[in-house]
Each structure stands twice: as structure tokens, then as C-alpha cells.
């Protein structure tokens, strides 16, 4: 931009025009009455101008399915790590349930991803290229590598008894462990790339949390993966799942708080309205799940299952909260215009 600072514009339009220009500022917003706790309060709103209040950005075309995918992808990643660990440390029940859980979550992920496309029949066009600048392309390949291992390891668990002696079944049994480990090795990618997927957009609510979102998402993935193990495996075997879930839940709670704290204006969409309620519920469930994991899950099967469920629910709500926050941030031009205007003005004052 090479234009002059608007403050320096000569007032060639005269005094009455200045008054009317003030009126024209009505296109932006000065303040709005809002009801909070029954008391009408004037919330001072950021001043800005816009084109009839129209959004500057397009709202994401993604539906709730993408939020559901974020949860299922995280669950698949977390479960596959638990499955590989259980396999290597001799915990068959935990291994079996986690492998099956990973496959189930993976299949759900695929369904959500493909059905959200505008042209689902063309889903395989994703496999035409590997494009480092596109997190979705990178994610497609990470998910493909992950899916092969996680899928094969889970299929091994499902081989019926009467086929166990056949040579393909025996081959699969031999390969299940290395394939399961390969899934666990790619799982961190699956758990974390989705944060880049969201942040690598112009959507203010996603782009501006780019430093913290990966930690929120891997924490959420670990909490859900561990929580799923606690839900499905006996208490005696589920020790590592509890530890994994606890570390994940604690990390998620911390990262989520830091994220919200660091946000400027766009933090509003994370705190207010529907999204605010989602996130509060997520935090409460995750915290309750964490407490249950630490206090009761090692001695009570019911307590372990309840804690696991709370962690799973908390993780799911976390994903929906972040997703919806981004969508909300595109609907009001304020979140685009105000920070950018501040940047421009700061640059103009500096030069």
C-alpha cells in the first residue's frame, strides 16, 4: 500500500462533512448493547470499517464431519501407540482392543473425510501428487502410511479361529507386530498434522493459534487413545494407557489454557457463545477424566471406564470447539480487519 495515512488527509470536505463522515463510520461499529447475566452492558467494541458488515473471508465449507474427523484421527493415532506398546510389553487384551479401536476410528475418519468432499467419487485425486505446501496433501500420505499398518494389525486380531492355521494368517501374525509398530511410528504425524491443516489457512481463529494448536491436538489424541484403552481393557493391563491418558489430558488442558490466554481479539470466539460452552464442557470433562484416571482408575473397573469415557468426550468436544471457533471467526469481518488495520497503522507510524 502506498496510500497516505488517512489521519493526514486534508479536511477539504469541511466541517459538516466531518460530522457526516462520523456518521458514515456507522458502517463499522462503535459499541453494542449486550445482555450478560441479565444486566444490559455496553461492551466497547473495536472500531473498524467494513463493507456493509459483510464478511471479508469465506466461511469454511467444511461441515461438522471435519471436526469429527479431527477427533477420530486423534483417537486412531493414540490407540495405535497404546496397541504397539501393549503388544511389545505383553498386554494382549489392551493390544487387541486398541488395535480394533484404531481401525474403527480410522474407518470413521475415512468416511468423514471422503463424504465431506464436494466430489466424493474423486477422493483418489488426493493421491495424484505429494505437495509439501499443502498440509492436506502431506496429511493424506501420512494417513495412508499409518492406515496400512494400523489396518493390517487390526485385521490380524479379527482372523477367525478356524483360519488361524492357514499360511496367510500365519504370515499376517508375523507381520502384525512390525506393522503395528510402523503405525505407532507414524501416529505422531497423524496426531499433529491436523493442527497445521487448520492453522495453514486465512481463518483468523485457526491461523492465530498456530503455535499452540499442535500441543492441544496431540494432548487430546493421547487422552482419547489412553482413555479408550482404559474403557476397553481390564484394570490390570491398562496401567500404561492410564499414564498415557493422564499425560495427554494434562498437556491438553495446559496447552488449551495457554492458547486461549495468548489470543488477542479473536480470543472472543473461543470464549463466547456456543463455542465457549463447548470448550468449557471439554475442559470440565477432561479435568474430571484426568482426576478419575489418577485417583480411581487403577482400582475400579467402573471408575476406569467412566474416566476413559470422560476423556473421550472431552477430546471430542475440544475438536468441535476449535473447529467451530474458526468458523465463527470468519463470519465477522472484525477479526480480519481490526488486527490487519492495527498492523498497517503501526507500520505507517513507524515509517
Amino acid at each position: 500500500m502506498t496510500g497516505p495515512d488517512p489521519a493526514e488527509l486534508p479536511s477539504d470536505a469541511g466541517g459538516s462533512a466531518a460530522r457526516s463522515a462520523e456518521m458514515f463510520q456507522g458502517v463499522g461499529r462503535r459499541g453494542r448493547h449486550r445482555r450478560r447475566g441479565g444486566e444490559p452492558t455496553v461492551v466497547p467494541e473495536a472500531e473498524f470499517r467494513s463493507y456493509y458488515g459483510r464478511p471479508v473471508l469465506k466461511a469454511p465449507v467444511w461441515e461438522w464431519k471435519i471436526a469429527a474427523y479431527l477427533f477420530c484421527g486423534g483417537l486412531a493415532a493414540g490407540s495405535s501407540v497404546v496397541a504397539a506398546g501393549a503388544d511389545l510389553t505383553g498386554r494382549p487384551a489392551l493390544r487387541r482392543s486398541s488395535r480394533l479401536g484404531a481401525l474403527g476410528a480410522l474407518l470413521a475418519s475415512m468416511y468423514f473425510l471422503v463424504s465431506d468432499l464436494g466430489r466424493p467419487a474423486r477422493f483418489h485425486h488426493m493421491l495424484r501428487v505429494l505437495k509439501p505446501t499443502s498440509p492436506m496433501s502431506v496429511g493424506t500420505w501420512i494417513l495412508s502410511a499409518f492406515g496400512a499398518g494400523a489396518g493390517a494389525a487390526a485385521v490380524e486380531e479379527m482372523v477367525p479361529r478356524r483360519w488361524r492355521r492357514t499360511w496367510p494368517a500365519r504370515l499376517l501374525r508375523r507381520l502384525a507386530r512390525p506393522l503395528g509398530i510402523s503405525a505407532a511410528a507414524t501416529a505422531p504425524g497423524v496426531a499433529s498434522y491436523t493442527a497445521v491443516l487448520l492453522s495453514h489457512t486465512a481463518v483468523p481463529g485457526w491461523n492465530q493459534v498456530r503455535d499452540e494448536l499442535p500441543f492441544v491436538f496431540v494432548g487430546s489424541a493421547a487422552a482419547s487413545g489412553g482413555g479408550f484403552g482404559m474403557l476397553c481393557a481390564p484394570v490390570a493391563e491398562a496401567g500404561p494407557a492410564r499414564a498415557f491418558a493422564a499425560v495427554g489430558a494434562a498437556g491438553e488442558l495446559l496447552a488449551s489454557r495457554v492458547m486461549e490466554h495468548r489470543l488477542g481479539l479473536v480470543g472472543e470466539v473461543y470464549r463466547e457463545g456456543h463455542v465457549g460452552r463447548l470448550r468449557k464442557a471439554s475442559e470440565a470433562l477432561t479435568a474430571a477424566g484426568l482426576a478419575g484416571t489418577l485417583l480411581v482408575a487403577h482400582r475400579s473397573r467402573v471408575g476406569a471406564a467412566a474416566s476413559g469415557l470422560a476423556l473421550l468426550a472431552g477430546s471430542a468436544l475440544q475438536r468441535f470447539g476449535v473447529f467451530e471457533a474458526g468458523v465463527a471467526s470468519t463470519k465477522d469481518p472484525k477479526y480480519v480487519v481490526v488486527p490487519q488495520r492495527q498492523r498497517v497503522d503501526a507500520r505507517n507510524t513507524a515509517s
Binding site: 502506498t2 488517512p6 456507522g26 471479508v56 465449507v61 464436494g118 492453522s199 495453514h200 486465512a202 498497517v344
Partner: protein, 356 residues
């Protein structure tokens, strides 16, 4: 690997084209736009862009936004003319209302009525031509008083208020279009390769490849590209790629009767824009400024840039956009750290748990 951010001299070459023609683009000089919308029509005609409501039966909406009944750029409108009425004059221009009482601008009223409804609308009104008034939905409407949307009326401005409310007056009209950025957010994030950089340095969607993932919609910092309803694929201005190939100028530039839309080689357009800006400043239009011309801006400069007479946001443009790819290395680094923490937590959980 091509550059992710900053100025770039040879965009087509950077994308892998050898011996390519020079980069072309648009210079849209909004100071001479008369709001005729010939560009919108010519674009729709040439590119066979459907009317918004092709499948809903109706083609025209009245949006309550002055003469703008398109709303914004989208999958079904690749040019969009914005209309803003302001109570001030441009430079030393005579508003032409001497001796006549001209009332205050209706824009604040219009915006006040339109805005809250838009935010309630699906996708916050970023759907092309979103009608700010409830349509179809049965509301207890018979009880609601008629609302003044500030629509142009049949009485002369100020007839009802008198000369004392007279203000200065000008129209801002601007034909918006895809910016064909040097670093295009949509192109960077497209996972199928459907979006590509042409030999002319423009950005085009290949309709036979696009699978409608919708990533480009959120990747664009200008809110230009969108997915077409009932079709599922992403659509936006191609800068008339087919016409360029035949040595013709794009349909909108061809149709523009005032040369507000100028097509040409980008370097030449930039010089022309600089001259026009200097000329306007000499004429006292000090608020004139170029938007998207600077190769040092957040997207490396636009292939389609503008001369504006007010802040960009007044026209619905972002004041300081940047391509999200700018931060890609930093974002992947954070994701890598998080991934390592995730793996470490898993390892630690099982090492501490021991064998059974």
C-alpha cells in the same frame, strides 16, 4: 523448491514454466468505475458462469446493499462491483448537487439493517448473494413494522429533510476480482494439483481434477474462491485463460466502457498505475492509493491490483493480507515438537509400566 513468501520476479518460471510469456494481470482503476457491471455480465457470458440460484429457480436477489445485488465474489461471480455512497467529495470534484438539498447518506442505515441479519445467515453471509432478509422461513412477519433499508427511493435526495441536512457526496464503485497472487494461498494448499500456475503467471482451477475438498476456500486471504453449490467443485476467475491463449484480453476488461479495468503485462500495468496515482495526487485526490501493487506485501504482490479512494476494508478488502504459507515452516516445526512429545509420552508410559 520454490519460494514460499516475499517478492518473486518470475512466478511462472518459479512454477516450472520455461520460455513462458510475460506475467499478465489487471489494474483496476476504481476512480473511473461507473458501476455499470458490464464486467460482471461479460464474465458470466464468456465463462458460462451460472446464475447463483441456477438450481433454485430464481436468479436475482435484492440484497439491500445500495446497487450491489451480487454481494461478494464467489464461485458464481468472478467479478463483483461494490457500491459505497459517502458524504464527502473526491478531490475538488463538484458533487453536482449545488442548490439542491441532498440528504445524508443512506449507507449507515443500510448497513445497520443488513449486518445483524448477515451474521445470522448460513456461513455468515459469505455465501454469494446471501439475502439479508429472511426468505421463505415463516416468521410472525405481519406484526413487524416495515423497515427502512436505505434503498434508493423515488424522491429527490433531501426532499424530505431540507437543505440544512445537505452533505457532500460521492460514490465509490469498484470492480473486485481474484487477485492472482504472487504467492497464492489457494494454490499452495490445493492437495490434488487442480489449482495451478499458468504460463501467464495466473492461477487457475482445473475442473477435471478438483475434488471439492474446500481447502482453497479457507486458504484464500481475500475470500475469493468458493465451492459451487450442487456442483461441489471450486471456482474462481481464470483471468480468461482460454482467451489469453488466443491473444485476446479477458472478457471483463474488453467490456469495461471506461477502462477502469485495464489488462496487460504486469510490469507495464504497475508503471501505468504509478503514473495514474501521481496524477490523482496532483489533482488533490490525496486519498488515492494503490492496493496489491507492492511486491513486498504479504502475498508478494497481486497479479490483479487496484487503485482505491478509501481504506481497503471499506470495499470489503482485507487491509493487510498475507499468505498462510508464510508461516508453514514455523507451523511444521511446532507440529514436529508436539509429535515428539506425543511419542515420548507413549514410550514413557510403557517403559514405566514395564513388561507383564
Amino acid at each position: 523448491m520454490s519460494r514460499l513468501y516475499g517478492p518473486l520476479d518470475d512466478v511462472a518460471g518459479d512454477a516450472g514454466h520455461v520460455e513462458h510469456p510475460p506475467r499478465v494481470g489487471f489494474f483496476t482503476d476504481t476512480s473511473v468505475c461507473i458501476g455499470c457491471k458490464a464486467c460482471e455480465v461479460a464474465c458470466k457470458e464468456w465463462n458460462a458462469v451460472p446464475s447463483r440460484n441456477e438450481n433454485d429457480g430464481a436468479g436475482l436477489d435484492l440484497l439491500g446493499m445500495s446497487f450491489d445485488n451480487t454481494g461478494m465474489l464467489g464461485a458464481d461471480s468472478w467479478r463483483h462491483v461494490a457500491f459505497v455512497e459517502q458524504p464527502r467529495r473526491t478531490g475538488h470534484q463538484e458533487p453536482g448537487f449545488a442548490g439542491l438539498p441532498t440528504g445524508p447518506s443512506g449507507i449507515p442505515e443500510t448497513a445497520g439493517a443488513v449486518e445483524p441479519r448477515l451474521q445470522e445467515a448460513p456461513r455468515g453471509g459469505s455465501e454469494l448473494g446471501t439475502n439479508p432478509l429472511p426468505t421463505g422461513a415463516p416468521e410472525p412477519q405481519e406484526l413487524r413494522p416495515t423497515e427502512n433499508l436505505g434503498m434508493p427511493g423515488f424522491s429527490r435526495p433531501g426532499d424530505l429533510t431540507g437543505a440544512e441536512s445537505r452533505t457532500d457526496f460521492r460514490w465509490l464503485m469498484a470492480s473486485d476480482v481474484c487477485k492472482h497472487c504472487t504467492h497464492a494461498g489457494c494454490l499452495d494448499v490445493c492437495p490434488t494439483g487442480a489449482l495451478f500456475r499458468t504460463e501467464f503467471g495466473t492461477v487457475v482451477v482445473q475442473q477435471d481434477i478438483c475434488n471439492g475438498c474446500g481447502y482453497c476456500v479457507s486458504g484464500c486471504p481475500y475470500g475469493v474462491i468458493d465451492r459451487r453449490q450442487h456442483d461441489g467443485r471450486a471456482n474462481k476467475c481464470t483471468l480468461c485463460y482460454d482467451r489469453l491463449g488466443d491473444g485476446l484480453e479477458p472478457a471483463c476488461a474488453k467490456a469495461c466502457p471506461t477502462d477502469s479495468i485495464q489488462f496487460g503485462e504486469l510490469d507495464e500495468l504497475r508503471e501505468r498505475a504509478d503514473r495514474r496515482l501521481a496524477q490523482l495526487h496532483d489533482l488533490g485526490v490525496s486519498e488515492a492509493r494503490l492496493y496489491g501493487r507492492d511486491p513486498d506485501d504479504g502475498v508478494g504482490g497481486d497479479g490483479a491490483f487496484f487503485l482505491l479512494l478509501d481504506e481497503p476494508e471499506v470495499y470489503g478488502l482485507p487491509p493487510d493480507p498475507h499468505v498462510p504459507t508464510r508461516d508453514a515452516p514455523a507451523m511444521w516445526k511446532r507440529a514436529g515438537q508436539a509429535a515428539a512429545a506425543f511419542l515420548l509420552a507413549g514410550l514413557a508410559a510403557f517403559v514405566a509400566g514395564g513388561r507383564r
